[in-house]
Amino acid sequence: MDTVETAVTTASRKAPDTLSRRDRRLGKLLLAPALAYIFLLVALPFLLALFLSLTNSSAGSLEFSFVGLQNFKNVAASPVFLRALRNTFIFTLVSQVLVIFLGNILARALLKQFRGKLLVRFLVLMPWAAPISLATLGWLWIFDSTFSVINWGLKVVGWLGPGQWYYWLGDPTLGMVAIITVHVWRLLPFSTVILLAGLTSIPSEVHEAADLDGAGPFAKAFQITLPMMLPILTVALLFGVVFTFTDMNVVYLLTRGGPYNSTHVLASLAYQEGVLGGDVGRGAAVAIFLVPLLVVMAVFMLRVSRRSEVT
């Protein structure tokens, strides 16, 4: 992981303010195309999303008129939306608690030297590298109503008696369990490698010094490892939250929001209303509810990076 450390220490080094005017001009010139692209295709569309949420635009035509906050009022009065909003928070919260908890265990286990470590790292990382839509399809087959291998296992061990059956994707509660399982499965590798990078970056002298001072394993865990890991833990959590909160792949492919719209999240509902339903204004209004959390995350991220800049 030495690349991590070198990249980061140099990134926090102050750039000297002794550039010539020609260099400054060249700097702006080289930066301009990327900035223009980001402005035109991220910043403007972002504002357009806000704008569309205040109109009655539909997919069929380019004509529209202003309806003020009507879309938001309609959306907020809809039980399907409220359920989706609640689901989004439940999925994010539960899966991230599990991911951070399990990720810490796995990262610590991977910190040790053992035979076959590289192979294990490769295998454990696969869920994150696979395209999410295809990986979710694999889970769709695992959760299949007739051929579910999980049900087979539960039958064999006697958990499911004769006549008992789990319809994983046909039941609101089991559907939510399935969705959370896939999120945890997918994001666990990501958090683990980030936490592992954090653990390896704690210099071994720190632990040796603590040993000399007679610190026990608990004192070391809570007074050394945890405080030193806090920034990296925050980063793993921030990305995990953003990836889960804004994801629609898992829900769309596993349950399509069903049964009876009980497992929708904001993103999949926005797609259903805005694209499949053709009500662009309403879809935009649903998607806008993703923004407040993203703003909070951005502020957190800035604080993390600012802190590393100071030291």
Binding site: G27, L30, I38, L110, L134, W141, P231, I288, T311
Partner: protein
């Protein structure tokens, strides 16, 4: 802390159990894809309530019939080609935009460049599930509905910010003396960049190429929204949307397609893992 041999043995066993448990959880769906892809239908479609039939093993000899269907009578090869075609163009656009921007942020912009680079990185957080609605307007306006060009236009919105950030970190690790000595020898700044800096930056550029390519292959939401013709789909959408005919799932071919696409990506990711992580940790590791 001193520990007896019994405790040490227990710790080793515990460690093994943890490693094995997590590995099994991670790879089970891939194992399931693998075994499904090569099973005969009569071995595959046995209801799970039949506890005498072990689904984890081949009860009948493996078959290549699902692979033959996938490559012979579905559009999977076309989708692979579409994906790589979009991927190549997106990588090219990403390099054209991100390389100059990253160099500029690393060397030529002074203190405000640092702020700006974090701002650019944060745009990576704006999700596709928010932007696909305004983009559907834009795509309609430009007449790009149902064309791969729509994806070529839009995909750099998530590759450029992250790749700029990654490359900026990489350029900063190169010593400044490299360009300075080239410029003393009579090179212009631009000449020094193309002749000296870029050759040294090849590992960084390669990382960005792989990253942009994998992000393109993984993308689902935009492709689902903008491409409606089956023959123009990318792999990530074609397989879950168009390989399922009506309500009939051809699980053997489906799982083969998932596996064939996922494994090469996993290999690529592993090779460049440390660099990606350096990008994500944005200075949280001291």
């Amino acid at each position: 802390m001193r520990r007896g041999p019994v405790q040490r043995a227990l710790a080793t066993v515990g460690h093994r159990v943890v490693i094995l448990g997590f590995t099994a959880f991670a790879i089970f769906p891939f194992y399931w894809m693998l075994i499904t892809a090569f099973k005969q239908n009569s071995d595959l479609y046995v209801g799970a309530s039949n506890t005498a039939h072990n689904p984890f093993i081949f009860n009948e000899p493996p078959t290549l019939v699902h692979l033959r269907i996938l490559f012979g009578s579905t559009l999977f090869p076309t989708w692979l080609f579409n994906t790589l075609w979009v991927g190549a163009l997106v990588v090219a656009i990403t390099l054209l935009l991100a390389v100059p921007a990253a160099y500029s942020l690393a060397r030529l912009t002074g203190r405000w460049g640092e702020r700006l680079s974090i701002g650019i990185f944060l745009t990576y957080l704006v999700p596709s599930t928010l932007l696909f609605i305004p983009f559907s307007r834009l795509v309609a306006l430009l007449g790009l509905q149902n064309q791969l060009w729509a994806l070529v236009l839009i995909y750099p919105t998530f590759t450029v910010p992250f790749c700029t950030w990654l490359l900026m970190g990489f350029f900063k690790t190169l010593p400044k003396e490299v360009e300075e000595s080239a410029m003393v020898d009579g090179c212009s700044r631009v000449g020094a960049i193309t002749r000296v800096v870029l050759p040294l930056a090849v590992p960084g550029l390669l990382t960005v190429v792989i990253f942009a390519l994998t992000l393109t292959i993984q993308e689902f939401v935009y492709s689902l929204t903008f491409i409606s013709s089956v023959e123009r789909m990318t792999v990530s959408v074609g397989v879950p949307v168009a390989l399922v005919r009506g309500d009939v799932y051809y699980w053997g071919s489906l799982m083969a397609a998932c596996l064939i696409t996922s494994v090469p990506l996993a290999v690529l990711y592993n090779l460049f893992l440390d660099r990606f992580i350096a990008g994500f940790t944005i200075g949280a590791i001291k």
